[in-house]
Amino acid sequence: SQTIHQWPATLVQPVGSPLSLECTVEGTSNPNLYWYRQAAGRGLQLLFYSVGIGQISSEVPQNLSASRPQDRQFILSSKKLLLSDSGFYLCAWRRDYGSPLHFGNGTRLTVT
């Protein structure tokens, strides 16, 4: 069966510090991978998605970037965090566009 791992679960970082959140999927190959952000009391905002190694599509221009160095690894990064980057970050994967998304347990990021 397929599983998705996302870490860390919580993170407190000062403004201006770098960020790296990692997500890996097991039990499948060539998944479509996604990063979402969920601000308090709001819905899901799609940040990035990837349909293959090295292929990244950005949905919202901002302070973040994503990379997919391996088939089942998806990394969300920032060189300098802003206060507005605080939120709940969710990684997700799906087999193809007709399949449902499967989510990781999320990372709660607080920028202080």
Partner: protein, 113 residues
């Protein structure tokens, strides 16, 4: 543009009462339809999905949803709510020809004892 509307931001029901959460979508053709549930501090869990066929779909945890093409709706129902159902619920649609999932803003469900 495609969109998903969940008209109710917050709903409170008594334990044992029935539940219906509304979802309306705007799309030129019948999309794939999903309902997800999110407990506090957790990721989203798939409750059920509709691809084609029978318009009444059964999901996990006793939930069901009915697709009504004429109303562009995909409402989630449960005949008897349990306290453990308190969570946030998201409706999502995806075009059958390919493309991203589009999520509604979510409905927060509270359950009174």
């Amino acid at each position: 543009a495609q969109s998903v509307t969940q008209p109710d931001i917050h709903i409170t029901v008594s334990e044992g009462a029935s539940l219906e959460l509304r979802c309306n979508y705007s799309y030129g053709a019948t999309p794939y339809l999903f309902w997800y549930v999110q407990s506090p501090g957790q990721g989203l869990q798939l409750l059920l999905k509709y691809f084609s066929g029978d318009t009444l779909v059964q999901g996990i945890k006793g939930f069901e949803a009915e697709f009504k093409r004429s109303q562009s709706s995909f409402n989630l129902r449960k005949p008897s709510v349990h306290w453990s159902d308190a969570a946030e619920y998201f409706c999502a649609v995806a075009p059958t020809q390919g493309g991203k999932l589009i999520f509604g803003q979510g409905t927060e469900l509270s359950v009174k004892p």
